[in-house]
Symmetry: C2
Subunit: 514 residues, 2 copies
């Protein structure tokens, strides 16, 4: 398997089919193949050698798509940069991976001097925006126009496809090395599930393309040879507009994006009937949000995917049928390319229903962490990726994640899982979105604390919320305090940054603030 | 990817789901996992070591299924033997591959002494039938009952999964080395096509399980976790009975089997409404047979797969929609795991519509031929498998095979492709099945000659046939002679053995017989 294979096939079978739509730019499969062959030629001309890393720091665009194809075509290695990072973090990841060539768009061009401060080895910058050329940068379109097209190196199989720095919410970034086979295995498994893609259909990239969640959608869509629509970044109106205008069939969202779409005041003005599949990740969806989403997207099947960058990224899926059956607290079952086991600290499989560490095996398990053999050896043992996530499996193989992002609250000696409380809180009609964390409490050690965005025009008291929650969950799990906010802090991929919420209450060593 | 992965997943997610049905034996996913772990233990106990080849010579059965899983579980390598071969050919393939352990069923136990004559190194024979134990053989069920279950070696990825001797209709058998990844790539691509498998559905093995065509169906069905029904061998009534009794959803056939089913006098007595997918290979289907098959299997989508053992085995597919559109002469388009190019003798891609050699690239291309590095180097160049099949590609990427089995007739200096003539001949209402070959002719060099099985009660003259054919194809392509037969010679996989038909007219050096 190789990333460029789908491009060859699309150009062969549907040369005049539309491959990318980005703003007013529309390109056919044949055009994209030609442009990719030229961009790859340009990369070689600027000195990119076999296996060299080439980074991109950009909002979503059709040029991002071309970058993802031209780099392996040129026998080089991808390095998509997390767009939420500081110049110091970006500089670190470029330095760590020895990346000398960077594509940057208008949104991030102003960061270049600061990035250079942290990474003196940045040799070549290619400007993939439409605005003014940053000083010292080469123009993307000039390069494509001037370069000689080259033959596809057909880099593939076990060859390194990319170094993907984990932009997780905890810990120091590590470069996850994924092969073409890793990425292809996960994408093929996604397609084989039948949940996500329609041959010849249209996929919308509104989640950031640097992240492997959207990348999985990108690669699956490439395999089935459909059309990619890109908007620069998630925004409710831009997303709704793109769906209506381009009759989008599938997209990747995170629950907080789904909530923002379905609760948008203008949502009823848009024709969203074309959406057949919504894939979401990063966190479970609440029943309340799902119920609203099912009304807004009447033709859609909803699928949750669970995984991580190290799994390229899909391990389990919860498909549309399970959503209709209301099995929303599960992250789904191992998909066709993936084997999942819950193990104890000795690596022994635990009994069903018992919490342990989620481990995963298959062709999608990463090659390792860049330059970190020790970390690799700890994470991947006998072929099993140790995810660091706690969870249990039921008798039918459904995986339940109970400790996502270390998300357990210990209150009065009892373990309280935030996901369960969040699900109860989200069911209150006044709640548009919420996060539940543990905060310091003299009496309970930790106290269950709810942070809530209210629905338009609604109000909420802690008493009302507790009363509602206690109809659904045990009293000790119901929130004891409430904070109403206008917005929740989210990561570049739409994960709610509970760390940021907790930081008001706890210091970095886990002790109470003041 | 590894062959046993689907077994683990099925046992994890549906422990009490039915995995195999063979005669009156019905086994659950949990039972099969347990039996496979024991059979693997038994193989190690009888001395099978890492990477050792273990062969099977057997009709279809649930034990064949267990063999396919237990061998990699034991960290060994499969070697399924062509059941149509002579003892000399079988002995050759076992000797060539250094196979010391053989499973044999009742149908082939009598061949053991003759096989031993050709392969003195056959150390251990395991009897997987239900009849009397052959002399010196170990009993399969005794081994399973007595052995300690072992941990799955999880042999996978680039590890050798099996040596599959090509049972083609020409040339000397070669052992095709396929990795788990090769087989998994092709199977995953088959599932991803969406044409063939229904999660939780039932697949019937009536084509021989030693052949990779049925193997592809077996592996795909394993990936989606459904039920396998085995009948010992293809027989119209047994097949129809199994479909009705087990509400079979999918199966793999070859066109001659489809023809035998749909023309069977008792076909209307069976309820075949459960069949949703019929995959066929080896040769194209005629419009006439397809039209009858669509009536007999009203709920079925028909899919042609083209490939070869060296491609593990799928390269292109012609899906149900193309069948409904009548595009029957094409072998379909490259599927999601496969890249296909038509090249000239220099390896340069030819223009669309121009005949050249079909070449294929992807994760499904074999590791190579066992102990034949020279043959491997000739077949696989720069990652491209050179199939030896001639064909062309149209503007939409559809592949047309014009020279399958060197199947071109040169008559009066004109090239005549048998497939085209066969399609015309098959459309005559008196024709149940046919093959068209070139035979020596003083006037024309070669003469287009039709060999026909008549429909029940029908008669046919060469004049009637020519008149009909000329309404569809040029006069020089219409058959000039006709032979009515009761049966056509077919290979173990149902391919019509044109070589055998030609042998009456040509000697082995291509010269006219007498």
């Amino acid at each position: 398997m190789y990333l460029t294979q789908g491009l060859h096939r699309a150009a062969q079978q549907h040369p005049d089919g539309i491959m990318t739509i980005c703003g007013d730019r529309v390109r056919t499969n044949r055009e994209v193949r030609e442009r990719v062959a030229r961009l790859a030629g340009a990369l070689r001309e600027v000195g990119v050698g076999d296996g060299d890393r080439v980074a991109i720091l950009s909002l979503n665009s059709d040029r991002y798509h071309e970058y993802l194809l031209a780099v392996p075509w040129a026998n080089a290695v991808l390095n998509p940069v997390n767009i939420r990072w500081s110049p110091a973090e970006i500089g670190y990841s470029l330095r760590d991976s020895g990346t000398e060539v960077l594509l940057v768009d208008d949104a991030f061009a102003a960061m270049l001097p600061a990035i250079r401060e942290h990474h003196a080895g940045l040799r070549t910058v290619i400007h993939c925006g439409d605005g003014a050329l940053p000083e010292g940068a080469l123009g993307y379109e000039n390069l494509v126009a001037a370069a000689e097209p080259i033959e596809d190196a057909r880099r593939g199989g076990e060859d390194l496809a990319g170094v993907f720095y984990t932009g997780g919410t905890t810990g120091f970034p590590k470069g996850v090395m994924l092969s073409h086979l890793n990425l292809g295995t996960s994408a093929m498994g996604g397609v084989a599930s039948g949940f996500l893609f329609q041959p010849g259909g249209t996929f919308l990239h509104c989640a950031p393309m640097f992240h492997l969640a959207d990348f999985a959608g990108w690669y699956g869509q490439l395999l089935i040879g459909g059309t990619h629509v890109m908007i620069p970044a998630f925004d409710p109106v831009a997303t709704l507009t793109a769906i209506q205008r381009h009759r989008v069939n599938s997209t990747l969202l995170v629950p907080v994006m789904i909530q923002m779409l379905v609760d948008h005041p203008a949502v009823a003005d848009f024709d969203l009937s074309s959406i057949e599949a919504v894939m979401y990740g990063a966190s479970p969806i609440s029943e309340a949000v799902l119920a609203r989403a099912m009304k807004v997207f009447p033709a859609a099947g909803f699928t949750q995917a669970y995984g991580m960058t190290e799994l390229a990224p899909i391990a389990t899926m919860l498909g549309p049928e399970d959503h209709r059956a209301g099995r929303l607290r599960s992250a789904g079952k191992a998909v066709s390319h993936s084997e999942v086991r819950i193990v104890d600290t000795d690596g022994t499989e635990v009994a069903r229903g018992t919490v342990g560490e989620i481990t995963v095996r298959g062709g999608h398990v990463m090659l390792g962490y860049w330059n970190r053999p020790q970390d690799t050896a700890e994470a991947v043992r006998d072929g099993w990726m140790h995810t660091g996530d706690g969870g249990f499996m039921d008798e039918q193989g459904y995986v339940y994640i109970v400790d996502r992002l270390k998300d357990m609250i210990v209150s009065g000696g009892e373990n309280v899982y935030s996901a369960e409380v969040e699900n109860a809180v989200a069911g209150h009609p006044a709640v548009a979105a919420c996060a539940v964390i543990g905060v310091p409490d003299e009496e309970w050690g930790e106290r269950v604390h709810a942070v809530v965005i209210c629905a338009p025009g609604a109000t909420l008291t802690i008493e009302e919320l507790r009363e509602h929650a206690k109809t659904l969950i045990a009293g000790y799990k119901a929130p004891r305090s409430l904070e109403i906010v206008d917005a929740l802090p989210v990561s570049g991929t739409g994960k709610i940054l509970k760390r940021d919420l907790r930081d008001q209450y706890w210091n970095s060593t886990g002790r109470q603030v003041n």
